[in-house]
Symmetry: D3
């Protein structure tokens, strides 16, 4: 039995609040169990230097945790004067996975900035960030379309992300912090609504894992992601 | 008539949510009009080097804005690799004003970290941070007392903060962003429940102001602060 | 009786040396008691990006202390790789107060850089910086006028700054370091020759202060500032 | 046919030179095709603060590229004053994967520093770094054993790493730079001699990939890794 | 004929003011022509980590220029967030040359911090810094002796420094800025009262120089340094 | 007798490998005794801002040591977030000395970047860097000429560099690390094939040195440099 009484392949209680903030072009509060992340999308009418003049757009992401989103206070990256490695890894992952389903040519020469700020952390903040950022990004794209700045929503598919892992020999879906911190294997999956992979990141830091375990992890992950995509569709009114 | 229909000496709609987050020793969501700030208090059982071994405690504050708390996206201090001057000024102000009413000797050799993170900004974020941080700080101190780590709550009085200013020749209480950005004079006041001053910061960046104007600013400010302290008392159950 | 035998409302011995350095467009050594600050004004024929093309000028200030301007050696900001909060606060204050009396439109699209370098510190370095910087700024503006780059001196009034405080229950004008370090209330005032306020910054870090105390602080401050403006006028030959 | 005439599941020409440098406790030049990396292992008789006093050791890794290891000159991280995200990601990966097969308790309270410096880059530098670092690490551990500082080599298995990808619809093993830069799917695999996974990192930045493609990628990767482990064994004299 | 009418082997007008500042253990204003540097010496009762417990002392130096010591405003190193290469080179030179004549064992386990702050620059700031710092250092050492913290002044000899160069084919002593900026060869010499070398740094950036030219440069340099040492002796009252 | 059996005026075993790396326009492995440095030259078709539009070129140099090029592991400058003083000094020296023999006007408006990366250090890394960088620079210039981007090789002479020093009272040429670390006097010389000086940097950190000692140091240095220039010529095929 899991800590919070869930089945091994069961997601945590999930909620998406659209238009959570007043100013951004897209803004979402995503809640999955006790994990809460504010995801915003900002439209900027220019692109990074390496893309200038190519008629293509860009999606860039930043991720941060409030100091007391976690059990013990985390020192701010701004106080340290540099962005720690974990944060860099996560924001690169968010940006890369969103870019993979946006049609950057159709987006036109503009950048969408995605900001994922973790208000409360209980495991799975990076996957929740991606799942929520997708919705904020859609809102920003619809705003562009409503203002006739683009002709169609330049989005190729839905994507969502979830964590899976092996804890005490059991394969589990959507790990909370306590499960995550005792996991032998930890995997983050990002998939489309067609069940195809955008990203697989699996780590056996404490012990290697077998092909059979991998397959079960992928199976649970796919199940969770397809459910999350249903939540996204409902939130977006489809 | 003000933009939002308020009287010149009227506060915006105000709300305090205690225990807003799961992990911190004290955590508050403060809402004043459209301005929303998460204030947390963290207990750390050590003091900065300059206080070591003196049996006294410390209160330290950090302040930050989410990139899209504002109309246009604000670049993160962590991305710039340094904390901008405005942020430094504000976090020094928050820490200084809270230290002025805490009995640091009775607090004992520990630090209370105050984190004020602006989720949405519509003017008055620094004063809202102080007013909210006071409540989060009280919650952390009560936790220390409940755990018998201190004998009494080492707090000398209530404090709250508010902005006043002169806009189009009118003295106004609790300026929203639009008022603030066209103010000729801008003042932040921090006062106790006895109507005494902790901090006065008044700036006539666009034009100097007279003694008479100063007096009216102080009068409006005092009125607002005493009302805010009533909200604090109610939130804390007094 | 004060440490140095002064009356409570008496300034320290004061001196301004114009043209103190060879290279700058304006340069002043200001001495008030044992506090000595070199203030320079530099003309740069461009403005910060946010002002480009608006035909308006800018005044920007930097402040620094020599490591041994103080009793114990202060580590350089350049060695720490970042500017400390107190320094940022002071240089923002100097720039803001000088901009408030310069007619930036008449200045034209150029920047005046103000540098205040404290050679010796004995309290009141930020207020001495402002009082001295005013004179250096005037010298730079006169140079612009002499070179026919501007038609008139774009300065609306005189300004000077002074500290006041409450020490052992007494309100004192122009605190030296020893007084300042035992002050219960500490206030910096910047005023014009008409007795109007540019900036009020009062802090009761150790104890709140009353309206009556505030009024006495303002009275002493005004007296001191009007005397300092007389010194400025004399130094400038008016 | 591949650019360099290889079969789709064929590794590039591979070589390991042990004791490549004079000073380090372990040092290896690893060459795979035109990719050349110097991997060193340094023994330090202390552990990071979070491990102090627990009797456990640590393995930490740093990765860097010479500015002209690449086609165009790469600006040094030291010149930029910060470590870029890609570098951070890679050095975290190297450290994590090596820690997963070292018995940190048997290592005792000491740190092994792994430095991977890319002399020449032609794709696969991160996987070459791991494969080479394993051998340098073994040399350092053998030195510890020879000096009787540890009783047995605290290594649980062999590990090696390789890249696989999908280029023009073909699954390829051990991509060179030209293949890598046109790959639709890019995957790095780290596995043990038993064919178990330490790390899977697969990215479909340009297009998602299916379960069938994933299986073929894993099959090719396992083949390559088992061959690389044979090279490691031979280099180490087993 | 030189710009300022000097002979080729003639020093500029030179002056040393001892006890220039109130707080430091040693402080000197050195003026050579229009170059003015404040040199201070600070005693700190601890040593850098690498010397701890060895009973030996240390001398460390920092050098900085006021932004408007120069013709055009120099951006502060603190604003850039790092110390530029030229500054690092100079402060390493000052520290190294002073350490070479101090008996660090007799100094005892303490550090003397030397701060050289250029108030006005007209060539030769690094050599003036060394010549002046010597006197400030002597004052700090005498203070230690007067307080009976050391038994004798741990100084082995006098040292002074001067620049020499080749301008328009002429070897010149003590170059001012205008000469320095058109010099083909530029050399800084640090010597003792016995005419021995502490440091020779000669650069033919625009053209190489011959052995014969080197000898003449050294001859002029020695003449200048012996004169400077006479000034030091007189300033110190010998 | 020297540690490695050499005569006092004898160079270490010396080797230059041209075209050491695949990508750079010039790349050299220089080995002198156990010291090994990779020197590369990169052509960039632009100049630093201060040279823009003047039709002149530039040569800029960077220097770095692999962490385990030395006996104990050296922390990377990138990890420290800043370039240490010694590194800055060395890269300024390399750039300055190479610029002194390149005809920057004939080079045209382009920059040659020199990178010197020390693979293994046993004394004399900065002088080996210069001697090797000269050859890499020549290779890059010949490439420019072969591509008809310049009409002639814009190089005025050969230059090489060597260290000399005084160890146990003996003047020695080309010091290895063990000699260098016990040297009383340490000197680096950069000279042309005509025996003229580009740079002399001599330091008597532990003891001053006399004119007679200087002359002997220069004599040994010249002998060594002329031999090194013969090696350069041979490597370049002259």
């Amino acid at each position: 039995m899991r800590i919070d009484g869930r089945q091994n392949d069961e997601l945590r209680k999930f909620n998406i609040t659209r238009n959570y903030l007043l100013h951004p072009e897209g803004s979402v509060l995503i809640e999955t169990g006790n994990t809460k992340v504010i995801c915003t999308a900002t439209i900027e009418e220019k692109v990074p230097p390496f893309l200038k003049g190519q008629g293509k757009g860009w999606v860039s992401a930043e991720y941060s945790m409030l100091p007391r989103s976690t059990h013990t206070r985390k020192i701010r990256n701004s106080s340290k004067g540099k962005i720690d490695g974990r944060t860099q890894e996560i924001q690169r992952l968010i940006g890369r996975s969103l870019r993979s389903i946006v049609d950057l040519e159709k987006l036109g020469e503009r950048t969408i900035w995605i900001d994922c700020d973790v208000i409360q952390a209980d495991g799975g903040t990076r996957t929740a960030s991606i799942t929520g950022a997708y919705v904020a990004l859609m809102d920003a794209l619809m705003k562009l379309k409503n203002e006739a700045l683009i002709k169609e929503i330049p989005m190729n598919d839905y994507i969502a992300a979830v964590s899976v892992g092996i804890v005490n020999g059991e394969v589990l879906l959507d790990l909370c912090y306590e499960e995550d911190s005792s996991a032998k294997v930890d995997m983050n999956l990002i998939m489309t609504s067609k069940g195809e992979f955008i990203e697989i990141q699996g780590t056996g830091e404490e012990a290697p894992f077998s092909k059979a375990e991998l397959n079960k992890l992928l199976e649970f992950g796919e199940k969770g992601i397809l459910e999350l995509i249903e939540f996204q569709k409902k939130a977006l009114g489809y």
